[in-house]
Amino acid sequence: MANHSQFGFQDASSPIMEELVEFHDHALMVALAICSLVLYLLALMLMEKLSSNTVDAQEVELIWTILPAIVLIMLALPSLQILYMMDEIDEPDLTLKAIGHQWYWTYEYTDFKDLTFDSYMLPTADLPLGHFRLLEVDHRIVIPMESPIRVIVTADDVLHSWAVPSLGVKTDAIPGRLNQTSFITTRPGIFYGQCSEICGANHSFMPIVVESAPLTHFESWSSLLSS
């Protein structure tokens, strides 16, 4: 989860998020280069006398056509690589359905048994000591770690969005439509997210909690819940 006043990304917990963080660092470095150049040019213009003698500037026009093209290529190539990586279908081991309601989520594990439960935010008054305010839920989603998971997201009433920043996942939940996303968790842990599409009064109070555990733990949890 994010710390207070955190500005940057959360630690990546999936390979896609690791790639996104690396791309973001690359984009910032390109931005630094561009900002340095622009700052220098601004300083130069401030010291230059105004003149209307220039009629022809072929060389500088060539430079300021080619240079932006190079910058765009430097940004577009890794960006497209990640975009296509995100769309890869990886034979998921588990399919999970997430249905958004006002103001809670319903999760369905229907691959092997019919397992359905609602996930409501824990009110602050009922929060155990040491737990996170406005982020904890009564029933977490448990998934096996290091396994490709497919999530099918939809909504029952208004627009919602199923987002978990540390997994690099954000998918809109649209009534009457099924949106698909997939991810793999690289390590066990608990990953927090929040609804990311304005959906009414309690939009900020319908969090998502994904618990990634070894397969044996996941199997015991699903047996427990279905019995």
Partner: protein, 107 residues
């Protein structure tokens, strides 16, 4: 505490950023000073210094990130290999056991 260059690039936590900026500064100094010593033209030397900064910084950045990506791939292969070794050691899927078996049959 993090130091953010121009307010947005955290040079301490981004891998390769600190070295890129430092090498860029060194490159800028070398190119700018070298041009000035050769031509005694201040304004043009400043242009070369800025160009040298950007090209050295980006050049080292690409080189460093490429090496980092290769290192990450090697780390992942090593991690997978270690996990598989622990899983299959002593079993019929253990490649070392199969090799030893072949050596015995050859001798």
């Amino acid at each position: 505490q993090s130091f953010k260059l121009l307010g947005f690039l955290d040079v301490q936590s981004v891998p390769c950023a600190r070295e890129s900026v430092l090498y860029g500064s060194l490159g800028s100094l070398v190119v700018g000073l070298g041009h000035f010593l050769a031509t005694s033209r201040v304004r043009r030397s400043c242009d070369f210094a800025v160009g040298g900064f950007i090209s050295t910084m980006l050049g080292y950045w690409f080189y460093c990130r490429y090496n980092l990506a290769q290192q990450r791939i090697r780390q992942r292969m090593l991690k997978e290999g270690m996990k598989n070794r622990i899983l299959f050691e002593g079993s019929y899927l253990d490649p070392e056991k199969n090799q030893t078996g072949n050596e015995r049959s050859d001798s």
